[in-house]
Amino acid sequence: MTPVLTVEALRVEIPVKTGLLRAVRGIDLAIRAGETHGLVGESGSGKSLSALGIMGLLPARARRSAAQLRLGAVDLLALDERAMEDVRGDRVAMIFQEPMTSLNPAFTVGAQLTETLRRHRKVSRGEALERAAEMLTRVGISSPRTRLAQYPHQLSGGLRQRVMIAMALLCEPKLLIADEPTTALDVTVQAQILRLLAELQRAMGLAILLITHDLSVVARVAQRVSVMYAGEVVETGAVADVFARPAHPYTRGLMAAVPVPGKVRRGAPLGTIAGVVPSLVGEIDGCAFRARCPSAHDACLRLPPMRSVGDDRRYRCHLPPEVAEARA
């Protein structure tokens, strides 16, 4: 089965005063229908820019290049801006971190929902309203008719995020890119939204690219995960495998930093990975994680190869996992 989204060697580069900021350094992704792919990494690791790059929504100064960027059979690299506008919102949709600011405060929920639909489908205003109300019900909003007439400021954060999801799914896209969809919500609402996304995914066969820095969110909803560090994917594979036996030293560091109730003593300092992310301006020689890696050695001055373990598990490190583990 061809993946819904195929990304090969995606690069995003932004010219800055001191040189060229290589924010995304050639990442590969493949997401199949009905699958949730988690993209995790710390702030500035290039997660969001990768998503914007896929959508073609990068800031004007940023440059994008890729060996392959396909949505189903459509080659996104070959599309011009007009054609891209037709794809966005129709076959690929996106939801954002801040539900408080991602709806236009000047128009009612109904006006905003129907316009997305009417932008891509030939439907009458009445029919669009009908479909919008239906969609609101599907995302778990009661009395949708009332909500359609309301303005964004009359809705709570959780409701707004549901509206955003409804708006994103109105045209039944193949791929949904969710950029930190639950970060701004409190934990209860976060759980509801994640459950809702999973339900809708099952019902619609949706592929989801879930961008987050919250490993527990990935563990809960994603089937596959890619860990980003300094603009590169350092490890990718099935969530269960990666989390159970992380192969890359960075992933291992991340997992070790997650506090586990019962295992981590109360009052003990939270786990960290010593050091800072290297500057992304210019080329990075060798392994980007070298300076913070507990098992760094001479070979790390060269760019590590992408190693495979098992069927579809890959990571970028010179050391086989057993060796790295033993050295750490």
Partner: protein
Amino acid sequence: MTDHALRSAFVLPRRLRNGGFVVGAAIVGCVIIAALVGPTLVPHDPFAQDLLNRLVPPMWMEGGSAAHVLGTDQVGRDYLARLVYGARISLLIGLSTVIVSGLIGTTLGVAGGFFGGRVDDVVTFIITCRLAVPLILVALAVVSIVGSSFFVVVMTLGLLLWERFAVVARATTAQVRNLDYVTAARAAGCSRGYILLREVLPNILNPLIVVATLEMALAILLEAALSFLGLGVPPPLPSWGLMIAEARDYMFFQAWVIVIPGLALLVFVLGINVLGDGLRDLLAPESRA
């Protein structure tokens, strides 16, 4: 009924609790009504001269009569009729100027704020150039070269008074541009033009409305100044500035001829400014629900 419910039953709508808004709206409303229906209510023609009844004082002064409530001017024209007709001129000048300058300024400002980079550099440069132009001097020069007419005055002022629109539109657009709902609209496949019209413009309208009131007051004052110098709307159109100019010679002995149009101008401009201030408080983002 609880105490709280009792009190809230008597709470006025927020709009009416803002003193500035109420006072300003009342003054501006009065002037608009006077301008619209006044000329039909006043029994005199603002252009009809009556040389036998020159400089009749207002009715409350000695020698005044009920026939001319505010008296007559130096050629015997009814002062109230001219004042009311002049309100029309002032309003029309103010509104037309604000429409012209608002269009220019908002277009430039939104373009600069939205597209940024080169476009913004050009817009900022144009704004700086405009700020370097001496307003009154250029207005005087243009009007004295082209000749004064209603159209020339409006276009001159409109082409000169847009910079505050541009500055405010540019700043607010740059803010709105980076908000998630604009990115969300792009992610939903909306084109740039659509985003400008539907996502950006409605959300920067409030501060622009406030700017419009201030610019309108300024335009009315400038028109009065031009008229006073004999370069505004041409006589015998009864502009308030022209009335002040024509009354200049009599101000020492018949002070009311200059006080009445002067007071009208003061109160109207003050009213617009107070209304603008009130609107700014009402429309301020932090007070919005």
